[in-house]
Amino acid sequence: MAERAGRLPVKKTYKLYIGGAFPRSESGRTYEAEGQNVARASRKDVRDAVRAARAAQPKWAGMTAYNRGQVLYRVAEMLEARTGEFAELIGDEAEVHAAVDRFVWYAGWADKLAQVLGSANPVAGPYFNFTVPEPTGVVGVLVPEEPPLLGLVSRLAPVLVGGNGAVVVASESRPLAAIELAEVLATSDVPGGIANLLTGFRSELAPVLAAHMDVNALDVTGADGDVPELERLAADNVKRIVRGSADAQSPWEIAGFLELKTVWHPMGV
């Protein structure tokens, strides 16, 4: 179709993704990255994101594992449909394909976790003894700088598949893929608040997440600088600290965000 003469293009404002909505930073700040003005989240945005994740997480964890897997597969579908946009944005179509495949791979794990990571334990007594994995709760994720899309997906998908809520601090230098992915998540039946994406300065946001008493685990894969300091801040409520890799694909990546709970049940009643 011919471009209409004199038409003004509608440009996108790059915003945050909190509780299923796309707000600007409450601080009103932005910073420049990849040639765009991107929202620069503040500590209060972190607070709002954690609140949204906490509110949404029980329902997400309560869905059947099969259903959670379907929703993650839906994310892969939506991402696949926008391959062109993402390829243009990050300049690497192979990375987009890898990201789609990663979502599919983790989606398949949703209803297999309990069998592989859980166990029926032999005990000396008339009891069944089971160990079952449960989600840790709200997880803060510091995404690695590179690769911009695959790094994000590799860290986010294992958190979500286990039934956790996530508060993600996107790549600081290459945040656009994260904002695009938020649009994918928003159209994929992922309940609002389960995945929250913040763009901004990691040095500003990471300590707030690490110190937040309502965050249960922190993925420091993308942390630069003082990881021991983050661990110290995270110690007050005994957060799980997870160090992964930017391009990992393993059920052990999921296990890092699960709690193993053991139940005893009397036999013969």
Partner: protein, 312 residues
């Protein structure tokens, strides 16, 4: 928004012909002013001051059919030491319970300075014969309540039988004598700001020490505009007669931010004199935990989780 004069002719009876002539409330202006004042930015030292004050002004309440002596005992302990890990957090003003639990509450708060308030007069509906209401009010005082929260008969009020409502408050006030009397208007059932203002003035004229918004049993309760209408009634009475009547918003105030906004409203309408537990209370159950979380957040700089505060 002062309506002059607040009361058409002086401040005495008969009310029936006078109440309908009380100037009406400007709904749009009241709501706009309440919204404006709620946008004040209260930070750091001012915020800590407001939060500390909110704790000292709190009537920690449990009014459930399922209340047990155990639950009231736990509530009373929390009232005395709201945050066991921080001794600088003050006790609340009072615990508010049903009559049957007054004695339990009294034993638990003895010597702490925390008062015991009890609801009476066929709470929450108020739809009982007056002799029963008076007897109930008298009895809760005998049981040891320091404060009595009575409800007005909204059915009578809405039917225009103002004198009945007035007489009942007068009789209950006589029955409780020196005991602090808070009169619950249940604004959610009054329908209009005009009725809220009328009921406020009626309750004050009948001898209420405090006027209180709601029972907490309705979804619509202590909103900021309703609170403002009642505060302005108190201010108008003060300006006309010099009498200081207290205010207690109750129901629907669940977080610290709402509490601070309400305190801004009080300060702007009535001034510093009313920023004391003697003249202002919050009726709430879940508010306290949020205020405690905010206090700890201000002191430690880190956001808090309800996981680390007591369940109530």
């Amino acid at each position: 928004m002062a309506q002059a004069p607040a009361l058409p002719t002086g401040f005495e009876l008969p009310l029936e012909p006078r109440l309908p002539r009380i100037g009406s409330v400007d709904q749009v202006a009241v709501e706009a002013r309440a919204t404006d004042l709620s946008r004040r930015s209260i930070k750091r030292e001012a915020k800590l001051f407001a939060l500390d004050l909110a704790v000292r002004m709190m009537d920690l309440t449990t009014l459930e059919g399922a209340d047990t002596p155990g639950k009231v005992a736990a509530l009373a302990s929390k009232a005395v030491r709201p945050d066991p890990s921080d001794a600088s957090v003050p006790s609340v003003a009072a615990v508010c319970v049903y009559p049957n639990l007054v004695q339990t509450a009294r034993e638990r708060v003895a010597g702490s300075g925390v008062k015991v308030a009890s609801v009476a007069t066929a709470f929450p509906s108020g739809q009982s014969p007056i002799d029963l209401k008076v007897a109930e009010a008298r009895r809760v005082v005998e049981l040891g309540a320091d404060e009595v929260d009575m409800v007005i008969d909204r059915g009578a009020f809405l039917a225009g039988r103002y004198a009945k409502v007035y007489d009942e408050i007068v009789q209950v006030k006589e029955a409780v004598a020196e005991t602090h009397l808070k009169v619950i208007l249940e604004v959610g059932e009054l329908g209009t700001y005009d009725n809220v203002r009328r009921a406020s003035l009626l309750a004050i004229a009948a001898g209420a020490d405090f006027i209180k918004t709601s029972t907490g049993k309705l979804s619509s309760s202590a909103t900021l505009p309703v609170t403002l209408v009642m505060l302005e009634a108190i201010r108008d009475v003060f300006e006309e007669t010099g009498r200081r009547v207290g205010m207690k918003p109750a129901g629907g105030i669940r977080n610290a931010k709402q509490a601070v906004q309400t305190l801004v409203l009080v300060h702007e309408t009535l001034g510093l004199d009313w920023l004391t537990p003697d003249l202002f209370r919050f009726g709430a159950s879940s508010l306290l935990n949020d205020v405690l979380m905010q206090i700890r957040k201000e002191k430690t700089g880190r956001y808090q989780s309800p996981e680390y505060f007591t369940i109530d």
